[in-house]
Symmetry: C2
Subunit: 299 residues, 2 copies
Amino acid sequence: MSVLIVGSTALDSIKTPTRENPRLLGGSASHASVAASFFSPVKLVGVVGEDFPRRYLALYKKHKIDLAGLQVLPGKTFHWSGEYEANMNNRRTLLTELGVFETFNPTLPSTHQDAAFVLLANIAPSLQQHVLEQMKRPKFVAADTMDLWLNIALPDLLKLLKHLDAFVLNDSEAHQLTQEDNMFLALKKIHKMGPNYVIIKKGSHGSVLSAPQGFFLCPAYPLNRVVDPTGAGDSFVGGMMGYLASAKGGIDANIRRAMIYGSVVASFCCEGFGLQRTTKVTRKQIQQRVKELERLTRY
Amino acid sequence: MSVLIVGSTALDSIKTPTRENPRLLGGSASHASVAASFFSPVKLVGVVGEDFPRRYLALYKKHKIDLAGLQVLPGKTFHWSGEYEANMNNRRTLLTELGVFETFNPTLPSTHQDAAFVLLANIAPSLQQHVLEQMKRPKFVAADTMDLWLNIALPDLLKLLKHLDAFVLNDSEAHQLTQEDNMFLALKKIHKMGPNYVIIKKGSHGSVLSAPQGFFLCPAYPLNRVVDPTGAGDSFVGGMMGYLASAKGGIDANIRRAMIYGSVVASFCCEGFGLQRTTKVTRKQIQQRVKELERLTRY
């Protein structure tokens, strides 16, 4: 089945202590779509400006991502610039130019409205809601978010949460949203806000699923070298949704393994700037890392 | 087989935002010995002063810990006092009174010198070395440490490392020792210092083993409520060594499962002040959590 993915489509300028990479293909929807494309057909919903490089459109197409929902508007593509510290854990935003995102109002083509799986990747919750309202009867709806929306659009996010099957956020966001230090107490509070499936991402420490059938501790695939973690969270949730949409059987039967696949795709994402590594990965390489992760956790 | 454990035997005064607990039974050897005692006979090597409460001796005995190597010297028992912040992750030392530890010079009874498993729990590396030199031909020697020794006794620690099978340290100590941000690069450097088995503890994020047969990502048993994490690391390594000493087959066949058992005993440790919870745990409760941890990580 296909996955509809809405989120940001951006140009990312990423600085690390050793390198500077201007205007890479980035954005939550780009990372999530490429990640999902290894497993299922993807319909991308987003917006870019007239400056959006053709080679990036070609990259989407290489991954067979349906671009009927990608608007090209007069103006500039959303541009984010950030800098990482030496340990790759802390980053600060240097610049955010919204560009065409300021007026983005996604209207879904009719071919997009009956997708079974919907991923509302990180973007303003009001836009996530607007896309969700246009969907006919999705089987499974997941959303990601970021601290910015907790700060400036919390009422919108709380409204959205009531309509989600799954909500994905990182540990500091879970703490911010619930004021709970303990992860289990935070999960409990987030379930009360709506979603039956809550996933807390902990970066290189993996992630935790709280679901009707219980908890799952999902390991991260450990890396020798992190080049650029931008988009790892988006790759994780994209890979997970792509796998879920491809798997036979219900959500509960597949979501744990889907998280493992998401985790592996995210590990590739971290090994290159922007999408440079992810877009070169093969399905076979993903499979090898999934197997290796099994070996790393077996006892 | 029995496990010889040397380390600190102390009185811990522990303050948290909600409670204050003066003069609890503490110290690395106390925590490690109780943890190991669930699986194997333990011979404790340590020192206490004349003020050491009889009820704490009774507690050791309840766990069938052999106290022939526990010296009682004129003077005061080592006393540590610390305070935790609300999130239970950061703690600061308020007070350290070495007492009888200042002159401690452990001489092993002959009955102790042929123990097959030796745990050099956290204590000055020169003392760890001194105990190790008195052992006949141990099958497996593991040592734990703390940041203090990296700061004030690094040459002693580096000397000790050459004689260890396994070295256990936490992630910030691994970083301090190797100046590597990346865990794998840190592990590589530590192997070069001597031990074939290196375990990096990551608190509530679990631990990582690097061994001749590869890496193992060991999960932490997740807790709803952390009362006092003091001694959790000691409980982990104690439980691990106790399990290893009890298991049939070689180290490589058992060390992963041994870490799981250590992880579970450490989880109980965190649920009470000092050793209050650990000393009330049953082998059956440990088994239940091991099974639950399997369920939490299966996919």
